[in-house]
Symmetry: C2
Subunit: 142 residues, 2 copies
DNA sequence: GGAACTGTATTATACGACTGATACGGTTTG
DNA sequence: CAAACCGTATCAGTCGTATAATACAGTTCC
């Protein structure tokens, strides 16, 4: 069962995109593996305090990407082979890093300055793993 | 007159926030100075191909932040002293970098790997300043 | 077989973002 | 003064996101 322990619901951006990103990042990190059970739509909606339809939208789009497999009536599972993982990993890196680099360049920051700045924030988040905001888990029924 | 030459309209996220971010980044970079003329609502809306109300919303919120001053009937100007610039600069760095670091950590990337990756994207955007997407300018009437 | 789950689909409602059109009054400039 | 700008305000309409309340069919398991 994949865990939503580290998921933090942000108030910026669509919820269904946040969920999709969280799962993609988990796959890229190797925390989420192949043929792993996904929380049911209803269970996750209760856990996160959002509407089941929102979860369904996220899962449905992930299925269209070939990351999730759903059979009507049965549980849903991840579906990621080695090639898919590498593809997701590269795409996640690209989209996240590209945006940051563009922002830094736009502000006239050199690469060295930017990396030094990143180091500062890296250490800031080192101590506590929670940060601010709520934490959710899908590990209760294990 | 502040220039929108380097502004690229993204399809992700509210337009009024993109405009606010662009101006904040310009101030942080020192490209936009104090008492500088801002394109009129109508002119910028025509330039970017968006509704004048969207520009008004962005400008209005920037005015509430104390970055822009508007007098009914007259042109609008920036209003940033040294303290304001430093405040904006720090806040922009924080919000952009914090998000990237969080994403990288979530994907299990070390600080060294992340910086090496950033370097890769830094060089990629070095050659052409345009990237993909449209470019707009507010310098025509100079 | 039947209860308790699953995924899937439908309808209605609400809100924010954005558009389009239009209007009013103040400022600037020839 | 008067035209041409400017900021400001309002209204109606579209679209995407999210909610709420159901409903139905397939599966898992005792």
């Amino acid at each position: 069962m994949i865990s939503f322990e580290r998921f933090v619901l942000e108030d910026s951006g669509p919820v269904y995109l946040q969920i999709m990103r969280y799962i993609r990042q988990g796959i890229a990190a190797g925390v989420i593996g192949d043929r792993e059970e996904v929380p049911s739509r209803r269970a996750l909606s209760t856990l996160l305090g959002v509407n089941p339809n929102t979860i369904q939208k996220a899962y449905h789009m992930l299925e269209e990407e070939g990351i999730i497999q759903s059979r009507s009536g049965a549980k849903s599972y991840t579906c990621v082979d080695a090639g898919t993982i590498e593809r997701i990993r590269r795409e996640q890196f690209r989209s996240e890093t590209c945006a940051w680099v563009k922002a830094m360049r736009q502000m006239g920051v050199s690469r060295e300055e930017a990396c030094a700045l990143a180091e500062e924030f890296w250490e800031a988040g080192e101590a506590d793993g929670t940060g601010d905001g709520n934490r959710f888990t899908a590990e209760s029924g294990r």
